[in-house]
């Protein structure tokens, strides 16, 4: 293991247990992970595998039961709710599956909201910065509309612009394309690729294997563990992965064979 400070994100022995119901449920079983600047991480896995829990550990939206989470040198696991909010506002831009724009604010106001909360940029510069971001996501012409007037893909673009509002080094996206058609999803993905090219680090949870093939590093999560960590996927393996994905939707009775691969160094 290399020195912690050289990695942008560093998780060590992260365990998360939920006390719902009578039997405690362990969502993460001792995750160790290092992410460097400029990486485009795809977290893939089945529903309930723990990938959303894992991204929530990185964003500080949820807390580990044990273990350490260091992001840009900050021990996220040790911050209080309030300190977390401030830290998150400046360090991580969060994108949700269901967009989660505030319904009563216009597009540009939604983008300016994180600047307002974290007091980033001078007040009179903010509309300009927000407009720049909206241009990057090709939403500048919709700036004064309410979210309800936009399509899902448009709302997600605005949500991405909002995630970039405070120019955070990291963007964390939980199923950002899960609610979009494939064409729109592709456009959003292209947007992410551009961000990576500009030096942002992106951590994205996704179901979509087509998109997963385009990330720089794919992490396969199953039963609360990272069962595979792959820098680039080969075409053959992708096909296999696609077959596995289909088995998730296979008729009842079909036997699912877990595919466990060795981790690439």
């Amino acid at each position: 293991m290399t020195d912690q400070s050289t990695h942008l994100i560093h998780l060590s022995e992260v365990v998360k247990t939920y006390d719902t119901g009578e039997i405690p449920f362990t969502a993460l079983r001792g995750i160790n992970l290092d992410v460097d600047r400029g990486e485009f991480i795809g977290l893939i896995g089945k529903s309930g595998s723990g990938k959303t829990t894992l991204i929530n550990m990185i964003t500080g939206i949820d807390r580990p039961t044990s273990g350490q989470v260091l992001v840009d040198g900050t021990p996220v696991h040790g911050l209080g709710e309030n300190a977390l909010a401030i830290w998150r506002g400046k360090t991580i831009g969060v994108v949700f599956q269901f967009f989660q724009l505030l319904p009563t604010l216009t597009v540009i106001e939604n983008v300016m909201l994180p600047m307002d909360f974290c007091n980033v940029y001078k007040v009179d510069e903010r509309p300009e910065v927000a407009m720049d971001l909206l241009e990057q996501v090709e939403m500048a012409d919709q700036a004064y509309k309410l979210p309800s007037a936009l399509s899902g893909g448009q709302q997600q673009r605005v949500a991405i612009a909002r995630a970039l509002a405070n120019d955070p080094p990291i963007v964390a996206a939980d199923e950002p394309t899960g609610n979009l058609d494939s064409k729109t999803a592709d456009a959003v993905f292209v947007l992410f690729e551009k961000l990576v090219a500009r030096g942002k680090t992106i951590v994205m949870v996704t179901h979509d294997t087509d998109l997963a093939s385009r990330v720089t590093r794919a992490l396969h999560v199953a039963d609360g563990e990272i069962v595979e960590d792959r820098r680039r996927w080969l075409d053959g393996e992708l096909a296999e992965e696609a077959a596995e994905r289909r088995s998730v939707f296979a008729p009842p009775g079909a036997i699912e064979v877990p595919v466990v691969r060795e981790t690439e160094s």
Binding site: I61, R63, E81, G89, L102, L105, N110
Partner: protein
Amino acid sequence: MLAPRWRKVLRDLTSHRIRTALVVLSIAVGIFAVGVVMGGRQVLTREFDVDFEASVPASAEFDTSGFGEDVPDLVAERDDVRAAEGRRRVTVRYTQGETPEDASTAGWETLRLWAIPEFGRGGVQKLVREESSAWPPKAGEVILERSALQVDRFSVGDVITVESPAGKKVELRVVGYAHDINAIPAQFQGAPTGFVSMDTLALLDEPDDLNHLLIVLDPTISRSAASRIAADIRDTDLSAAGVNTLRTTVPEPGSHFLGDIFKAISLLLLALGVMALALSGFLVVTTVSAILTQQVRQVGIMKAIGGRRGQISWMYLALVASYGVLAVLIAVPAGLAAGRWFTEYAAGMLNFRITDFNPPWWVIAIEVSVGILVPILAAAFPVRRGATLPVVSALNSGSSVHFGHGLIDRLLGLIRGLPRPVALSLRNTFLRKGRLVLTLTTLVLASGVVMGVLSVRASMLQTVDDMGSWWNYDAQVFMARPQPRAALEREARKAEGVSAVETWLESQASLARADGSENEEIYALGVPADTRFIAPELVAGRWLTPEDEDGVVVNTDVIKDEPYLAVGDKITLTTRGVEKEWNIVGIATGQLMGPVAFVDREALDAVIGSSGGVTRLLVQTSEHSSETQERTARDLERRFDDASLPISGSQTQTAQKETIASQLGILVTFLVIMAALLAAVGVIGLTGTMTINVLESTREIGVMRSIGASHRSIFGIYITEGVVVAVMAWALGAVLSWPLSVWLVDALGTAMSLPLSYAFSYTGVGAWLVTVIAIAAIASLLPAWRASQVSIRDAISYE
């Protein structure tokens, strides 16, 4: 430029207009009720005191055989007397219009006339000139006390015909109205009061001397000290001037004769003001926490994108404060306007004037704090909880409701065989238990107060009824002087429809107190011990027996003035100057007829030596309608007129019931106004809470529609849910209303020194059930209908 987060606050206010309107209305209606009730109480008590004090009420009054205009000046010269004034009191009978051809005065009404030497300049019991064309009135003109309008239709310029005690009929012109706070309002004594100048006395063939002396003493002295001064004036100054004093009246210093009813109203307003305050507080807490529950997910999003706890808390506190400010802006002026109407109405009924309608500043302060501080305090806990909730829980707020673990949930789960939508409604009702508790508390409180007030009203009406059954006559005729019993009874039996006759003898009496002072306001009523014309209700001891030659039954009005008296005590009563010791054998309930001592008719006759003379004749008729009673009374008056038996007036039982009812009626009217006000708070609260609950379920409605629920079944589910909550609140409220109304009736009875009957208002409870079910159905149906019109996609993503 406004920062985006403040713009969100503003937009939340303006974009959910129905929700904002409901929240603001819920808060406003509570403030409004507090403003009307508490403001009304403060203005009424303050203005009553101001008006009463400004009138310079008499500290003692003397009824005499007559005196000259120099006597008041003489009395005023005493060091302990601040002012003195003389008047002449004449009780006449009147009829509207010019002198009729018919010589009989049967059916004419009583008018109490005061002849005043120095009109409008007197220093005691000042008259306040209202509408009038002549002041002072000239000979043949009369100024009426303004409450006269409550019993008869008088207009300025009208002519009335009066018959003087001497039998002379004179036409008087009504030239205006005056206000006299010290005059018993016409509707209470059943007779209007009028004021004339001394010149008019000559027209009436009345002597031109004065017969009533009013004096003002130091208002800080005790009643017994005032009694001693009054007795001294009677025995020294008046005696020396050759004035024969028939009766001295010394009221409790600073107390008005309507004081008891006023105390009761004031108590009622205070109790209901506190209840309105509690109710509006709960309403605000319920509404605010409902609003905040809806916002938890948005709180999660804001925290996820960098919102700090403090920033988010301030946003919601500002939102809630805005609701409060809006509510205050609506409710305070509305409360002032309604309070003005209410106090004007109340002051009209109690016959006093209000010069300043503004409630004291602290009433407004309470309204503002209920409107703004209570919502902020109510929001503090949910805001703090929301702002400190981990982001992941906040984002999942919609699905984090736990159902199925508690006892109630499992019990509900055990109920089988219900149609599935009904089962869903029942379980939904208990889904958010914290909310249910808040909603129920508010609605139970409102229901309890409304039904309680209705029971107090029913108790008042029951009291009037019970008082009626105390009396067992159909008509009674009062004689101007004692008349031979046999002659009266013989005449009465000739009247058509008369089935039974009884005669009573009555006299003023004065009771000697241990400290040497006297209570001269007692009425000794000589009745046959086996009377069938009253059925007194006794609170202690027993009724008179024919053997009770010195037995007396006093009523509770005597006990109010002389609280030390008990059954078995001996009292000395002076009647017509003769002292006699009596044994108290019983205490009867008062019937709003003042302090009365019931004694055996023959025993009283023996004391005052009226040798078989009686002063009152009562009859029972074979039929008891008010028309029969009225016809019988007129028939009796005409017969006595013809037989030259001098009468001073008559009364039917219906009329007496009406007089009693009009006194308690003030309270009943107040109670109805209060019940309506609190019911409005309850109804708006119910509507608001129900509507907000259903609006919150928009997403759920979308889900149900997506799995095939028809509009009808969705409406059914939410109406059932609303009705279940409303019926629970009604049932608990009905239970609560019982101790509440018992306490209020008891407190009112104590305040008025009048034992009140208690009646639980089953009608009120039934009416309120119908109301809450109707409101619950409407309040649930409208938002459910609205939710069903939204597309499933929008409903599912509803925030």
